[in-house]
Amino acid sequence: MNYKNFIKQNPFNFEIKDLKLIQKKMIEYLNNHHYKKCIEYKKIIKMIYDKKNSNLFNKMLPINLFKNFELKSISNDQVFKVMLSSGTSGLQSKIFLDKNNALKQKIILHKIVSEYIGSERLPMLIIDKNPKYLKNEMTAKEAAIVGFSIFGKDHTYLLDEYNNICSATLNNFLERHQKKKFLIFGFTSQIFEHLIEKKFFKNIDMKNAICLHGGGWKKIEKKKISKILFKKKLLNKFGIDKVINYYGLIEQTGSIFLESPKCGYFHTSIFSNIIVRDPMFNVLKNNKKGLVQLISILPTSYPGHNILTEDLGEIVGENDCICGKGGKYFLIHGREKKSEIRGCSDAL
């Protein structure tokens, strides 16, 4: 099976014959593709990975490179869209998409998310403001809202331009859609701040909602809110029992990981893979916490197919999850606390 045919497959079809072998071939294909097309990628691979160290999966780039350099495997005139990460901690990642790559990511994002919430467009309540009020061009936030909008209809934004909650908007939305399945979408911290924490929301019935949320837990963990407590609060306050967390990188949009409500774990698709490594970058066994490396076979216009992140995670198992989905299932434990940097230069 060649690359073009492979990406047309159902993302959760783990029945494909010789799947592992095919996936390996895809990685090899992308390694070669980016080696030929991206000067920076070639430089790094040439320097670091000699022949005896030629494991396909080792050839990873640290995620911060996308913040400090403009890495592309296409010419400037092929750039169709530039995506920027939210960049809460300083620099933003810059991701260069050509038409083909943008489309591919959109299609596969749709396929993966449909697997969890169905392919029918649902009325969508967005716990944020309309992206037209967001200042930057194409931030991760905007990308997420726009990207996920394809799953919804009657898109309704809970916040106004000034981040105030519009109660009337909410009431109108609920009047129209409360009785049937609908979608709530937002960043984890926004959902916490604008739904869970707001005292004036009482006796609001949202039991038909599916709540899809993602993004960092940093802000919430400071308030000692765990994942379980987050879910419990949504259930107790609004009756929402379908809460789906998503995890993914702007560098690998499309091959997103969703947490199955049945098991509470993130799952890989046939287009993605996760490897967990120790500080020496040795591969860790299941149930061991370490640095998360993510593989996506979607990036072709930039060398983002194999990335070492700063996130900590652990793989729980593979192909034997109680929820029935194939692939690896795993947990993410957020970013590692930076130790204090000592030294003579300016503190960052």
């Binding site: 670091i48 020496m280 640095l291 940097i341 000592r342 030294g343 003579c344 230069s345």
Partner: protein
Amino acid sequence: MTLYNTKILNLDNHTVYKQAFKPFNKISLNFIEDLRTELKKNKKIYEYPELAYFIFWLRKSKIKKISDDFKDKNLRHGRGLVFHVSSSNLPTNFIYSFIFGLLSGNSNIVKIPSISFPEKEILISAIDTILKKKKYDLIKKTNLFINLERNSENFFKISKHCDARVIWGGDNSVKSIRNIPIKPRSIELVFPDRYSFCIIKSSFFYNQHKKKLELAAEKLFRDTYNLSQLACNSPHFIFIAGKIKQKNLSLFWQYFLKIIKKKVKFENFNSFEKFNELTSNIIKINSISSIDRFENYLYLVNLDSIDEIEQIRGKNGTFYVKKKKKINELKKYITEKCQTITYLGFSKNEMLEFVKKNNLNGVDRIVPIGQAMDIDVIWDGYETLKHLSRVITVD
């Protein structure tokens, strides 16, 4: 000694009396000795290499040597009030700066790092304990350790009143602090960011006894891994002069690696940062010719040329290595940015000759390998104690 003709500086709840004293006065020397004794009572200090080193540094014979070196034909006196703006990301820098100010006969206000380094807490609590003694009332009145924001009112106030300001920190910090006015007569000692390197004579490796190689590796380790190579006196470039026998050199690195594996615990964060830095430099720096990577313990980055050295900083165990025929070829790269050179396989005389012959624009300190982290009252080219005192001539 008593306070007389004293100007007082009021800072919120603190009052600092400002007065100049005789350098190496009895009360200061006693105080330093008591500080050492007090610190030694705390067994925890030996968990912190920098505290252990500080206590060693405070030993009587060292203070005596500093005092002897200080003496010259001039009559010297402290300048008055010294404002120490210590480095915010070094745990013990502030205490050395303070000792320099105290020994040279000054009142001191010391800005301490805001980060709660355990080393800092231990030092401050020991000082607090001793200052409770009545006999140190004078020291208590004329010295203050304080948390300060750089743009706070107090920072400006102290700057306005001090007779000398000592600034340690990164280039940007130093630059912006120097914009805060001091009195026309006040002086400033500045310690901005520098870099350091190590030069090795290749013949050192020839047929060398295993023990000697191991010892040399141990010394390089001491110079580099303590503060993750981030102190400016930690070498991150290694120049090897002369003909290389690869086998012998590899053996040295193997010993070095063994020490790292035994002594350093790498966290995920360190490895990520190190790998990130390496890959960034591969993109940015054109003169990299090859890389020897020993997992994430040690990266040896070989350079074609050293033209880009000012742009590169090795961190967390990353060394940029260049082989040169003769050390004289290095002279144009020894710029004002260069602070310390450590050497191995050369003699002290060879180093002296090298300095005398070459009209170097940089380097303030040349020490045998293993002594990069040692701290001295002569720092960055200043005789700090002399700068912090003034000469009174009586004819």
